[in-house]
């Protein structure tokens, strides 16, 4: 698969995963870019042992975990990049609320639910996180319950 094709196919999905993790548009943009830089550098070493999706999501989620450290070391966005589009934020409060709720979950749950919402199969999620499929299923169920609860409490239906 060509990089350009991967970039076009996966950008939105990776961005949303990062957005679910940090709930900050600029930070998510940075994280997504870093992910694709790693993908670009490592693409040669990709050997179809796993699907390309699993491979990319692993890089993205590991990068999200790692930014916890960078958060403490560097100011945000060391290298500003010119976006071709204007910065957009979602106007719908429900969408914002969902991302806010997800970003408040424990780190691994953020990744799990983001992948689930991206329609990644549970077997694949298990391979990305490093858990058993059964475990993933239970976790997804619990996270969804938590989210539903939060939406109810907030009156966001």
């Amino acid at each position: 698969m060509e990089f350009e094709e991967i970039y076009k196919t996966y950008w939105d999905r990776i961005f949303r995963l990062c957005m679910g993790f940090v709930n900050d548009y600029d930070a998510a943009q940075d994280l997504a870019q870093e992910t694709f830089i790693i993908v670009w550098q490592k693409l040669e070493t990709f050997r179809n042992e796993s699907s390309i999706g699993t491979w990319i999501f692993r890089i993205a989620s590991n990068n999200c975990l790692r930014q916890i450290e960078k958060q403490k070391r560097f100011p945000k966005s060391e290298l500003p990049i010119h976006l071709s589009e204007e910065k957009q934020t979602s106007l719908e409060p429900q969408i914002q609320f969902l991302y806010k709720c997800i970003a408040e979950l424990p780190e691994t749950e953020r990744i799990i639910i983001s992948l689930e919402l991206e329609d990644v199969r549970q077997a694949e999620i298990a391979k990305i996180i490093g858990l058993s499929e059964a475990n993933v299923r239970v976790k997804i169920h619990r996270i969804k319950e938590k989210l539903t609860q939060k939406f109810k409490e907030n009156g966001q239906r």
Partner: protein, 197 residues
Amino acid sequence: MDNDNNIDFKDLWKKQSVSQPDMQDLLARVNKFKRAGLRSLWITNMLLFATTAFIVFVWIYYQPQFISTKIGIIVTILAMMIYLFVYNKLLSTYKSIETTQTNQEYLQNLILIKKKQQFLQTTMMRFYFATLTFGICLYMYEYASRMTFLGASLAYGLTLLWMAVNWFFILPKQIKKQQFKINSLIEKFEEINKQLL
């Protein structure tokens, strides 16, 4: 969305607005990163090279007579080289953590590397300073032996005082600060790792 128990999270999730930056911008950033990496490597090595060259110049130009001076020079250079070597090595293992493994494996690796870093920052820093002090004291001996007693005491006294200030005040403070940062990171990563158990 009307059903209480059935909020369509997937639908909401995918409605998040996304702007895909131009791929050329991204690739430009890759090159920038590469250049920055090379530059820091170059600077580190130039510094090392310049210091070594200076010391070698002193050796040749002043022709030290005592063996202690020569040993002092070698010890000082070695201290710097070992420190830089270890530091660079740590940096490179850190940069090359396999990013394509599972989150669980990745977290464990992060914790491991942070622990290594923790050890190196304390032990290596102390080793570096002890060796440096020892080397400088040896190096000074030849010149001090030609001074008056007062001059020699003053030269050694000031040098040792400076080293003591480093050893007892600056170094512990620096180590404490770094340890605090690393420890809180290790704690955080371990906490995340526990979420997977």
